[in-house]
Amino acid sequence: MTTTQRKKIIGLTVNEETYELAVECQETLLDVLRNNLGLTGTKEGCGTGECGSCTVLLEGEPILACLMLAVECENKKIETIEGQSINGDLTPVQEAFLEKGAVQCGFCTPGMVLASTDLLKRNPDPSKEDIMESLGGHLCRCTGYNKIMEFVHHAAKLNRDNT
């Protein structure tokens, strides 16, 4: 059966909590995270796929929340930057970010952290080229990227030391 949707009540599972929400079809995951759930860690830079600041993990894979309809995320697992630390304990990736000072204004940081988390899960010891490839869709207007490269290498080391 076809389901015609204009406004729909959906269950969204964000950072392991399920929310029931009335969502209009055209609302993106980014709109709903920020406007309905108050999860403003996910940023909107461009809204058109070019900057990576709206990156979230959908079923563990990084995607752009600005180009994803919220209604199409029903029954899928969403992770945002807010769900990374548990009870205030930062993840090794976040620790590495702080230690290397890879942040200035912070607008790109949530996307950078999530994309790096995804990279290190697939590749525990990435080369400079691997990092450039994985973070290629993440624009940073402040740091000049050197600190960000350093942080991913450092995060990889912290991750390896932890295991």
């Binding site: 070019e50 180009l67 309809l69 869709g137």
Partner: protein, 335 residues
């Protein structure tokens, strides 16, 4: 930036999707949304109804009894790069998919969406909210701002994947109100920037078919950009070489180029010239020159025709060399 309002349909079968699509002018298909949503946000189009293909039954790439490769049009670009069947039967497709945009976009974007993306131009693909000029031809106006006084649209077709399907002699299965048909990939393109696809309003691409290849073969894909990542191609070139058993003599070459005109193009003259010849450095040089000088090139995104022609020579040579190197590796492994 918000999307304009629309109604979303989520059909569960191709038949249902086709009947919904054929039911009105204001309907449009939605796959990954990475091409469509930026256009909708820029108000380049405002379909009233979107028909999402995400709920359709999906299947992983398959090799049938005739050794043809059958690929679901809805496969994500990331899945293309990881599929053992595609890596075995059509590695060229995986090479191109890996070069599209970024990991996030490859996770969302699909094969069907990639080959059906709209043409682009520097003027068109931006927000028009604060513009007081008349819309250009592509937005229903009377003028082209890219080529002032122009009565034609010059927007270029930027898919990285479509040229490689030309190289692989692929076809698509199209479902519509009249039933299903198989058409050559070349035939879905019109070479008209205003309407780059020949598909009828009720038609959906459901599968991509790559036929079996006979001879030993070499693959090469080159994409030239300034930033290396998250950038549309300045030029892209796919090369598929079928060789004799010696792996050094070209039996048949297929060379296709994208991003420089209204649709992908085969470099037929260059292909014919190389057939039967040795894949020597000298011949590769010559064939790259021939490819670049025989194709239609539209200046785009600030690059002149002269510059693009030079880029095309270099990238054709790169793709051909990669294909030849791959063949040399096969030959060494065989020893």
């Amino acid at each position: 930036m918000y999307l304009p309002k629309f109604t979303l349909e989520s059909p569960r079968s191709i038949e249902e999707a086709v009947s919904l699509l054929g039911s009105g002018e204001q309907t449009k298909l939605l796959s990954g949304g990475t091409d469509l949503f930026p256009r909708m946000k820029y108000k380049l189009c405002s379909p009233g109804v979107l028909i999402s293909l995400k709920g359709l039954p999906s299947f992983p790439p398959q090799i049938d009894e005739e050794r043809k490769l059958i690929i679901d049009a809805n496969i994500s670009l990331t899945a293309i790069t990881l599929s053992p069947e595609i890596l075995e039967k059509a590695p060229l497709l995986a090479l191109a998919a890996q070069k599209v945009a970024t990991r996030e976009i490859r996770n969302m974007g699909t094969l069907g969406g990639n080959i059906c993306q709209e043409t682009r131009c520097l003027y068109l693909n931006q927000t028009h909210t604060f513009q007081f000029t008349e819309p250009c031809l592509k937005r229903g106006g009377k003028e082209c701002y890219f080529a002032p006084k122009g009565k034609k649209c010059w927007a270029t077709f930027m898919s990285d994947i479509a040229p490689t399907l030309f190289c692989l002699n692929a076809s698509v299965i199209v479902a519509g109100l009249d039933g299903e048909q198989q058409i050559k990939i070349e035939e879905i393109y019109t070479n008209d920037s205003l309407k780059p696809l020949s598909l009828k309003p009720d038609q959906i691409i459901t599968k991509i078919i790559v036929p079996k290849t006979q001879s030993p073969s070499g693959n090469g894909f080159a994409k030239f950009t300034v930033r290396k990542t998250i950038e549309f191609a300045i030029v892209n070139v796919g090369v598929f070489l079928e060789t004799e058993k010696d792996l050094k003599t070209c039996k048949k070459a297929r060379i296709a180029v994208g991003a420089v005109s209204e649709g992908p193009q085969r470099a037929l003259e260059a292909e014919d010239w190389l057939a039967g010849k040795s894949l020597s450095k000298e011949n590769i040089n010559k064939v790259s020159q021939k490819a670049a000088s025989s194709l239609k090139i539209i200046p785009h995104h600030g690059y002149s025709k002269k510059y693009l022609t030079e880029c095309l020579k270099i990238q054709s040579k790169q793709a051909l060399n990669d294909a030849v190197e791959g063949l040399a590796d096969q030959s060494n492994r065989g020893r």
